[in-house]
Chain length 460, copies 4
């Protein structure tokens, strides 16, 4: 449905992206897209990191394979990045590995294991509390300096980041993007190959998506006219015990980020719906069925991602960054698999697309409060995003999801009001927190204290 037009004067504010490789991935995708060009202003609390990205970006732009020519410019203030922006991309790390270590590992002392710790559970909650003030500031600055810009969030906790933006500036044009559903669609691609020896592309898999980020569900999936549910039933049964490895991916135990989809298969067996996120994320939204202890995690063939591992991984990234910047290593220009650039194209009027995004509920998901951020398909077209009516979850899954939605609403209020009592009410209603009240209080306060540097104005 594309037009033959190019849009070559796009202004993007990129907030964050200093520490990881996210920014480079987006830069790659921009470079590979011939119809777009413009300027990216890079803002990071670590200016040097932004400057490095500037350097890298301009280098990339100068390469001959780069069809889309972009100018990168590191700026020193949020305001500078925002003025004139058509798009704002936010991808930050709230806090340091030190806070993350508290989020993820302190609860282990109380018998609470988290496979990620950035979305829900005690870790996700505390991470949300330190993220909310940052997003309040983003929203206020966007209202002031770029009120008409499209804002794309990649930071976790996805739901609460997006929700905060809308709460502070209701007219904001923000949405959140996450590739977890894509991963499940890739699993369905692999399934078709495995069960029926048919090769299809991910974009041929048509799914109805319902839920909240990292706890999304698919209640209908078709490909080339074929209902995928009977096949998935067969597939889940076939690999229920052994788990499944998507060809080309590592074994589940080769990396803390991998998993064998056993949690997903178990959830399908129980609820009849396809849970559409990585097993590491799914497990955290549920009572500790899969996260009871490290042995249980192993049994279900996924992993607890330690912060030590993350630190080591970051060092790897840093090394790579240094080598590339120094010209010692050449960065391989290849598509990231993310949809960000495709979304930008649709929003500037080059084509249109339907994909899953995180967006305030305006009726697309039934029986979820108006305004809560949900993940469903949406229609992106020329300067417009409109959710697709996804319907409703069956009562059994809805009971699991709505509990999290109300917890998120409570955490939002806690963060905005800097109110530890409100936060604690969400804490003890989290499925992973099965502590008695005194222990819950103790853990909660210890976690808050560990992150207190990022809780300006809080009293506890």
């Amino acid at each position: 449905m594309n037009t033959d037009q190019n849009v070559t004067d796009i202004n993007i504010a990129y907030i964050g992206g200093g520490s990881r490789l996210w920014a480079w991935k987006l830069m790659s995708d921009l470079a590979l897209e011939e119809k777009l060009a413009g300027t990216v202003k890079l803002y990071d609390i670590d200016f040097n990191a932004a400057a490095e990205n500037e350097h890298f970006g301009n280098l990339l732009s100068s390469r001959s394979e780069a069809k889309g020519k972009w100018r990168y410019q590191a700026v020193k203030t949020l305001k500078e990045s925002l003025i004139g922006a058509d798009f704002v991309i936010i991808s930050i790390q709230p806090g340091t590995f030190q806070e993350m270590a508290s989020d993820v590992h302190l609860p282990e002392k109380y018998g609470i294991y988290q496979s990620v710790g950035d979305t829900c559970g005690p870790g996700g909650l505390v991470r949300a509390l330190r993220t909310i003030p940052l997003y309040v500031e983003f929203a206020e600055n966007i209202r002031e300096y770029a009120p008409k810009a499209w804002v794309i969030n990649y930071t976790n906790p996805m739901t609460l980041c997006t929700r905060t933006l809308y709460q502070v500036f209701p007219e904001i044009k923000a949405f959140g993007c996450c590739h977890e559903v894509f991963g499940t669609q890739e699993l369905l691609v692999a399934m078709l190959k495995d069960i029926q020896n048919i090769t299809v592309r991910r974009d041929e898999i048509k799914t109805n998506v319902l839920g909240i980020n990292h706890f999304t569900w698919i209640d209908r999936a078709y490909c080339r006219g074929v209902d995928l549910f009977p096949l998935y039933r067969e597939f889940a049964a076939k690999y229920y015990e052994t788990g499944f490895r998507i060809p080309g991916e590592e074994e589940w135990n080769a990396s803390p980020f991998r998993f064998a989809h056993r949690v997903k298969f178990d959830l399908f067996r129980r609820y009849g719906l396809i849970a559409a996120a990585g097993d590491r994320h799914l497990a955290e939204f549920l009572p500790p069925w899969y996260l009871k202890d490290p042995e249980t995690v192993k049994y279900w063939k996924f992993n607890l991602t330690t912060v030590d591992f993350r630190i080591a991984r970051q060092e790897g990234f840093d090394g790579q960054r240094r080598r590339v910047i120094a010209g010692v290593e050449k960065f391989k220009l290849e598509p990231s698999g993310e949809e960000g650039v495709k979304q930008i194209k649709a929003l500037v009027g080059l084509g249109e697309m339907v994909t899953n995004i995180n967006f305030p509920n305006h009726g697309q998901l039934k029986e979820i409060p108006e305004g809560a951020v949900v993940e469903t398909n949406a229609y992106l077209s020329d300067n417009s995003i409109q959710p697709v009516v996804a319907g409703k979850l069956p009562s059994d899954v809805q009971g699991l999801v709505s509990r999290q939605v109300y917890n998120q609403e409570t955490i939002l209020q806690a963060g905005l009001k800097k109110n530890p009592d409100l936060a604690f009410r969400a804490f003890i209603n989290d499925p992973l927190v099965n502590l008695d009240l005194p222990n819950a209080q103790k853990l909660f306060h210890e976690m808050l204290r560990n992150t207190s540097q990022y809780l300006p104005g809080w009293k506890f």
Copy 2:
């Protein structure tokens, strides 16, 4: 607002009531009401019990203090009781003490303690499963033989009994009555005496009621123009540690049915709302904060009600019944404190009233699905019940309540479809069931087997 009319040709079908003293209480209230008279047909699966009630009722009617003259007649079939009925009162015991013992005590082997076991938790769930088929039958018979009658339910689990009636026969005119909110209003009466030395009647306490049966909340309470919330804050603080005994009632440890309101005070401290049911009920809707083990229960000053105790109590009732029937003991004719007869008066057009009842949601409770049975105030007038718009719960409490609502919807479907898988999904989402999946399966199936006699057509 009463008229000066009498209504003397009312036909009541009384279903159940054979084993306990519920029926006698209602008979007393009927006898004490001078404006009503008519016929009560008594149906019980134990015909002898119904016949005893017939005998007792007619005896009562013949007493000179009895201002309302009623004729009692035991009948052998449900159909006979229903034909011609203006009102149907249902108050049954689903199953025997044997099933109840499994409901309440088997989970204790898995570390799950229940203070009542008839509403939620594993016991309430299994009780619901064996109640639903009975209520399907009631609804079908009412549709056939008394479609215009008002149906008043007193049986627990209240919500699912009422919900089943509407699911099977959507045009039914049914509602559920429970005195737990009254108990909380009595606590507020006692509070006014204790804190301000003011004596008021319960009907002067005006409360807004939101929630589901046994897990109802009050978010606004006034008496004689005074906001009761600041007083309750003071009151809850004063008695937080010691608990409170309503003057005239037994100490919390004198009877398994008593409690010192500490759970209620703790919930108020946490959520800022007045939980409006007995502590024994409230505790069961929450993670095992108050029900972790017998010591915790004791610490919070309420009790686990054993089935042995219930059996002994029943024997006491039986003895009393025998003595009264035999003329050895005189039954004291006094008001029960229940509102059933007052409600009947309003519905036949003698006055009107606003009180809390259990009724399908038609917008009275926001963010709860249409049709789910909720407990709020309602306006009862001439042949009409209309819920009062109660508003919505704050997100923290709503998270607790909506989880139960969706569980109930799942249990309903399980019961109607005779589907153990559906029931299990509700089982493992119950806040009291913090088991790993294998243990949850084991307990669930053992409980189902123990009640299998009451699950006709089930396969598991």
Copy 3:
């Protein structure tokens, strides 16, 4: 349900009431209520009128039949009246008879006849436009000086007055009262006497009320257990041609305010619901079925109320006021038939009541937008008003009502934004305005010009 308490320190701000006898009626009801006492501050744009009312009120209070003792005090500013107020009563005349003459009679030149001209139709619309700025001012002052007071509106157009208060100050505790539904209930009382020779009181008639002020409908009515709809069908048929006179009332043609209920009977025959307002009001909400021309009005046995008649009537009031103030004539102290004082009693905690009021929609009326002001039953108790869930209108009547509701929303926006284009969109969508566009424009602008003194800041 009353307590035995008295409340003797109530502060009432009475806004308006200078020109007519409304204030005196309320004063009478206050004097006749023994449980209430306090102070009434009188504010009117005509201070002399307020001072006269002060004089009259204090005189009344001093009479021995006056059981409730109130102190009346005329004040010179709105602010003075509001400070300390527990209740604010608003009953004003927006504009003079001159503007009213334009509202009511100018459209006649275009063939548009209005029986009242204060609610809908071209006259009601223009009246609303000049009322809205006054109510904006009231709302702003109440927010500033009496934010917790209960505000009772008696001014027409009722819906838009109440709607404006909420739009400007959403936390206001306002509602609107109107006796038109009472009149229909009196008709049902008369019907019972006429058809069945039974004498009942109005408060024994239980009705479900749905709609908007002056265009309310009853879809269920019972009295003493009897369904009144079959009787009304008989009654409407019996008097369809001749019309009906409530015993004790004047003939329909003896006063421009009277009518013979033929419009009501015709609407019942067509829609099967009881229209619950005077025929003069009902006719104005519909296409000119009943208001085609003066002959048609006569045929349906109601009247066009001329402003000349109103002026003459006002002179009668003025004379009476003068004579009473001068002590020449004694004012007869008798109940007004209004419910204002009963409502005040309920709201201060002396009893409770269910009655029809005008209130923002929170789900009491289905398929009407949230926040639009609707008229249904509501439950008034201690410092609380909660609507009763009334259900929904059938599609045929809903089509008539919702059209008016959206018109009112448009008029509100027009009034707040001082936007004649918006107002014109509502004008040409009014059922009485069946003009071609050029004539509609002409009439509209002439009417606006005639009322321009009351449209500060408007440009047209």
Copy 4:
């Protein structure tokens, strides 16, 4: 987004299409689509017409330019056409020109002019009444013989045809298609050329569509990143007086089907939204602003389409059919401009698309009852249609639209219950029917009588 797959075994039931050229257009589009093939079963109440279409279709399929090869087969019963169908296409003429003449022209005697008479107004209403029983039969047969088929309706009145299908068989997978919005998008294409000299394709115009069929509105339109509303404002002003002719189209007065968009420009000036249908249709949904009399119609530069003209046109079609069938004339194989085949492709999994369709409301259009058929964008993909959340209309336009929606609901009930009283309630609430009640009754009954042959079981 297309796959490279072909689907060559599609079964289509084509109901109707005997008399006009609709069927031939679809056959052309099918022939031009290389990825699809299969069988079309043709059912028409006139079997000869179906047989002619069979002949024509197979001839077309045999032509070398026909890339998609289809087999056509006329069948004698509805059932035969439906068995095995993947798609059901319905395009019928309810009644003959005789009934249509009554629909369109009889009201003229009462001063009511209709430019089309097939959607709303007195003609549309009566046409709906005779269409509903036919669609009841279709729905019942589809439920029986093709419950999983996608049903595409092209018959008018579009809304009530689609609505009836869902009312009778709620699980039906039906939607209605209409090209009127496309026409408005073509106008925007022409506008871009006219105002900015830019040439774009219709599929580059991105619009948000809200409303009901033939009375749809666009509240947001972009093309290539440009907001089209300011341009449309300029465009509407430029051509307000003269009207506008899309280059390549006839002058407005060259054919009764043409118009100069003056109604559309006037609606834009008044409401600020782009009305998205032909002026002939739009005018009929409004009070007779544009349809007061033939002069007014001429003034606004559109036409009253007479049935005589339709008869003459039909004779032209018949001649063409005969000549083509006889081989005297060659049918030109060219795209019809309709989207039916593209929709079929999306639904069989070949690509996906977002376009405007008529579908039951599940929240896509706010403040319109659940289940009412509305026209908004929807997402068509593999065996799935999901509406896009379109938001809500402003109160002024909503007042116009909701009135029609409730009328349609009333007409539906009238048709299903064969109830002339219900139909009359809708009749007198139609904006075009500004008659007094006696005349309305007279016209209504005369119209009913004229169509009585198509109202089986009705009594009036």
